[in-house]
């Protein structure tokens, strides 16, 4: 059973639909107790990091996530869920969950020909093997839409990078935590495969 965290950050139902399609049982909840005692946690989201943190705090989900992480529960963050696990985000100068040391930074985009946000399909370069990424082949593409990217403090916490103006970390993690900047639930069959791998992953 996958527990999907509900913190008003965008369309959680798209993640739920992808899991339903794969025949993976899931529930959407805002109850910190259910998060604390989850088997596996999916932490999706779109939107503003500051707004996301406010709702997490209001609902006591920040502490529930710390407890779950400390207790070894496998956690997968997606998009904003991959940003607020870091210590801090430049978006609204927000103090974040600090599950993983690092900072969320804005694309500089000095090249005026580059679009804001980074939106569309882009490749991944796997820089450290990880069970969740085991089926990713060179050239496979994933759907991104974001203006900020996660930058872990330690290089060992970076598993894959993507290039947009510069190489930025697109898959990060540590121990029982893994997070992806792209939307696996909207990345076609290879994206669905990553979600399946998360279900089978034993950290």
């Amino acid at each position: 059973m996958i527990t999907i965290i509900d913190y008003k950050a965008g369309n959680l139902t798209s993640v739920k639909r992808a899991l339903d399609h794969l025949g993976i049982e899931s529930r959407i909840t805002a109850d910190p107790e259910k998060v604390r005692h989850a088997e596996r946690i999916l932490f999706p989201g779109v939107g503003h990091a500051g707004a996301a943190m406010r709702v997490l705090q209001e609902r006591g989900l920040d502490e529930a996530l710390w407890d779950a992480y400390a207790g070894g529960v496998p956690i997968l963050g997606i998009c904003v869920g991959a940003q607020v696990i870091l210590s801090h985000s430049d978006e609204g100068d927000t103090q974040c969950l600090d599950l993983l040391p690092g900072d969320c930074q804005r694309f500089r985009l000095d090249d005026l020909r580059l679009r804001v946000p980074h939106m569309g399909w882009n490749t991944l370069e796997v820089v450290r093997p990880h069970f969740i990424l085991k089926d990713v082949n060179p050239g496979d593409q994933f759907y991104f839409v974001h203006s900020y990217y996660p930058q872990p403090e330690y290089a060992d916490d970076i598993y894959a990078t993507t290039n947009y103006e510069r190489d930025f970390p697109a898959a990060i993690g540590h121990a029982n935590l893994f997070a992806i900047q792209f939307h696996a639930e909207k990345s076609g069959m290879i994206g669905l495969k990553l979600l399946e791998n998360f279900v089978d992953w034993i950290p």
């Binding site: 399609h21 939107g47 679009r115 980074h118 939106m119 569309g120 909207k186 076609g188």
Partner: protein, 262 residues
Amino acid sequence: MLSKRVISCLDVRDGLLAKSIKFVDTKDIGDPVARASKYYQDGLDELVFYDITASSDHRAIMLDVVSRVAEQIFIPFSVGGGLRSVEDCAKVLLAGAEKVNLNSAAVTNPGLIADVSQAFGAQAMVLSMDVMRVTPSAEIPSGYEIVINGGRKLMGLDAIEWAKIGEGLGAGEIVVNSIDSDGTKDGYDIQLTRKIAESVRVPVIASGGGGTPEHLYEVLTAGRADAALIASMLHYDEYTLGEIKSYLSQRGIPVRSVGIDK
């Protein structure tokens, strides 16, 4: 490297495909869910449903279609047509779309762009504009004017100006549909697309006139579009997605390779 997107638009009326589409497998006739599902399997990068339902009584049918499509295709999916309020948009997003396309309603009520962008994020707010070529004037310096109601009503609004206003209000993407090129299959309006693409920093999707893979190549290079919208060349089985993407890839355009025969 970020790929250029190939997007297809399906016109849906009362829950059925509006254009009669030739199918190899006849049992699929008229069913937008089956068509969407086929395109997904074939490597489409993004799907747009445009609801041209005349009667508001039949809107619920569209929501049902949106939700059935969302259960089967796992690529970005946007819905437009007949959306006039934040509530209308919330319904299609809840039904499973990622993005909403606003067109006429945004021209008559620009505040709606800001409201939708604030409610759901700029990434969900696609501004779609129908543009007609006119003689340049003081009012329309670019010679491209915004029209609504399917091209029947000129609005006295310059398309370049409108694109900038839309971006400022919070549109996360802009679809530029050339009324002059639409349905001609003679190619996109390269000059129009390029002018808009150079005036805003959000992604620009070219629409209207795509008839061959070369047309896509032209608008994605000279037209500086980030994505190209195709309809009949796919719906009438004139080209497959694999053929279109292979062509673009061979000419050096970065595309998502799903659907290309290796």
